[in-house]
Symmetry: C2
Subunit: 65 residues, 2 copies
DNA sequence: ACATATTGCAATATATATGTGTCATAAAGT
DNA sequence: ACTTTATGACACATATATATTGCAATATGT
């Protein structure tokens, strides 16, 4: 798994810290941090919750190519 | 979680049984079956593997709206 | 009606996502 | 310099995705 730069960009574009995004999404700060670092294989539901919070789609945040 | 009709349609469109898709993707038949039934919250990597096998994107198979 | 393929379901076992707590470090504010 | 905020890293605990096996039910073909 590679770093998820697109997620980090989308999060900072909304002026949210990892902790703030985590609270909105309903997970721990560490989970968000690890996803951005590419050290996790998140669940689909979590991906969708992140997308909804950041007003993005799955392809925009989690699709490579 | 709701049934994933789009996945079932894409799979049958390629004339694959759940078992055949499972083998191509590298998971068990039950895992594919439960995802189609909406009883599972699959991992992102598995979603991507399914998309690649069926020549679809995440939005096309796993995004609602 | 019979045979076969496909799919749903249930029980148990294992791998891994996620939570919780803590510490270290770096950046930003005062 | 000091304080606060944000992030990365680590260890351990828990929840859940996934595997495995077997059986029932539903198609589909002959």
């Amino acid at each position: 798994m590679a770093k998820n730069i697109k997620l980090k960009v989308a999060r900072t574009a909304m002026d949210l810290s990892q902790e703030e995004l985590a609270k909105k999404v309903g997970v721990s700060r560490q989970t968000i941090g690890l996803i951005e670092l590419g050290k996790y294989n998140p669940s689909l539901n979590l991906c969708i919750a992140i997308c909804n919070t950041l007003s993005k789609t799955l392809d925009e945040l989690f699709w490579e190519n």
